[in-house]
């Protein structure tokens, strides 16, 4: 038997023109603006860093309580609280430069102009490699409609596309739709260069002693391991129906907590893997997943992570 020389499998992937040392990213809103986790994990080893949603002007966000734990997950209704674009550019961009990994900025909005203005300014910032349009945040009243209506989504993405001449244009899809492939198609047709999914599922939790919702906002977005099977299905659906044909990379997320979850998302068609809620348990989880992925690939005799992306052997649908 010839002995094979061991080569560490390549973990590098690309999201459009962005080259990532590995597929592991942070999910928007769960990792702050820049180096908040710097004492807990080596941020320079991430594939990419995705910031909290940055709006044109600072936002206070919702009243407390903003979170509640649920079974194997949590609800949040933060209300897009953030420091605003000016403070972000001034205070956080220098730190992000220091980190040296590709940066993706999450951009929310309430009107098309909000998205266009913020995206245009971020497009001029060389360290910002990608703009992730948050068309799906279910917490702010009108936020839902861009992400759930394919016509409005197409118009919005087309408008933002005109100003994102340099950065990758990533559209973060809402799972709160009947068929996520429809909105995915609208985003890609309008010029999205990558898709990320899923955002949180609109959900509720009730304080039975006071007969009131647990969250001041009433409803919140469900995240964590509880949503993983649905997120995985949606990733696979978007991959097979839209992304594969158009050669558009997917950033998969929703309950990723162990390397096994990461492998599932890769097999289902994700190129990037974003870790969200699990960062609250341990900010080092992305790097632990990375180790696990490396071992998995070696065990499976794969030399390159790209060999397994979308390689799921899906059963043929029966009629």
């Amino acid at each position: 038997m010839p002995t094979r020389e061991f080569h560490a499998p390549s973990l590098a992937v690309s999201i459009g023109k962005l080259d990532l040392q590995n597929p592991l990213m942070t999910a928007s809103g769960t990792c702050g603006y820049a180096n908040e986790y710097g004492d807990f994990t080596d941020l320079t080893r991430l594939g990419a860093f995705v910031t909290k949603a940055i709006s044109k002007t600072p936002r206070k966000g919702n009243e407390a309580y903003r979170i509640v734990e649920t079974r194997a997950g949590m609800l949040n209704a933060i209300g897009l609280a953030n420091i605003g674009l000016d403070a972000f550019l001034k205070d956080k961009i220098p730190i992000l430069k220091e980190m040296g990994v590709p940066v993706i900025v999450n951009v929310p909005g309430w009107t098309t102009d909000d998205y266009v203005d913020v995206s245009a300014r971020l497009n001029d910032e060389p360290v910002v490699g990608g703009i992730e349009l948050n068309v799906s945040c279910p917490n702010v009243k009108s936020g839902l409609s861009f992400g759930t209506d394919p016509v409005r989504l197409f118009e919005l993405v087309s408008a933002v596309k005109k100003v994102t001449t340099r950065a990758e244009l990533i559209v973060k899809l809402s799972p709160n739709v009947a068929d996520v492939a429809v909105t995915a198609k609208a985003a890609v047709d309008a010029g999205a260069t990558a898709l990320s999914l899923v955002n949180t599922f609109t959900a509720m939790s009730i304080d039975i002693n006071n007969a009131r919702p647990m969250l001041a906002n009433g409803t919140g977005g469900l995240s964590g391991p509880a949503i993983k099977p649905i997120a995985l299905f949606m990733t696979h659906r978007v991959y097979t129906e839209v992304a594969k044909k158009h050669n558009i990379p997917i950033i998969g997320m929703g309950g990723i907590q162990r390397w096994q979850d990461g492998v599932e998302f890769l097999l289902a068609g994700a190129t990037g893997l974003a870790v969200g809620t699990a960062l609250f348990l341990d900010p080092n989880i992305p790097l632990q997943i990375l180790e696990g992925l490396r071992n998995y690939l070696a065990r499976k005799n794969k030399t390159d992570i790209r060999q397994i992306i979308g390689s799921l052997q899906a059963p043929a649908p029966h009629d």
Partner: protein, 364 residues
Amino acid sequence: MPGRTRQPAGGATSSEPRIRPTPTSPRGRYVATVKENIRLCTDHYRLVLSLPRFPRSTPGQFVEIDCRDPRFAPSADHDPGPRAFDWPPPESFKGDSPVALPRPCPSDPDFNAPLAYLRRPFSLADHRIWPDGYTELDIIHRVVGRGTLLLAQMLPGQTVSLIGPLGTGFTIPQGIELACLVGGGVGIPPMLYMAKGLQQSWIKGGVGFIGAQREDLLPVTIIGPPNAPEPSRAGDPLLNVAEFKEYGYPAVITTDDGSLGMRGYVTEALSAFLEERQVQQGRLMNTIVYCCGPTAMMKATARVAAVFGVPCQVSLEQPMACGMGTCQSCVIKFRPRDLGEGAEWKYKLTCTEGPVFDSRDLVW
């Protein structure tokens, strides 16, 4: 070390952004070993955790403990593997088990529900550092749900994952000579650590005010007056709290039902004390109040402090998902006192900009 005047968030002041953990990081992820797990009184436990090293902390700072099943605590190979549960846990906790608790059991329809998911925040009740870096942390907690129940069942030798020290602790303004340490219920633990911190500062005068609903809910060691055969415990002004006495500070004990010490709220005892001191000395300018407890009690304490014109620092509790300043879930309304009532408030994060705030800056 406790007792410094200024404590920036996380401790370090370097201008370089910290983007990876280093041996000098002021906070981090640690695996601690349970050294002791002691039942103090009904529902309350002291968990003594040992670590080969841990950054310095300030009283008022807290740690976030992973309260999922400790048998699946992170191991060196970092492959968490599948998490599984069985309930009840193997014969684990020796001594009295928590009482009066809706305890999951096989007849409970929710019996195979997962345990706590997010980490749970706990104030440091003490922090002991040996010259070689070996560290012991004390956590005193009350069993109120799944996470704290799990902690109560931990055995010496088991490990827990913790993150910390988090938040900003109490500060000691220049010129202060007397500190009142007001602790209610699960707000008592940080006051015990603060007593130690004060003792290591220039402040020599301290008084503890310890309140609970009932005698059996006081997680401290009560010692009676010397030479008294069988003291009448209720209302006895000479009762003392060993944890304060160690540092030379007397303590006033109150219980809502009068089962030990003074009957009534701890704020009434504080008010009476400040009143007396004011009459004696004619002024209270060098006094400060440190407080932790239920929100209503902290508000009442802040009001008492305001009446007597003394500063008051409170340690707040808010639901926290991360404890590290990323999720924006733990907000409180903040309005710097010098801006006046009409000024607009803004949100501050309890986990990183707190949990300790000057009560005069809070909108509550």
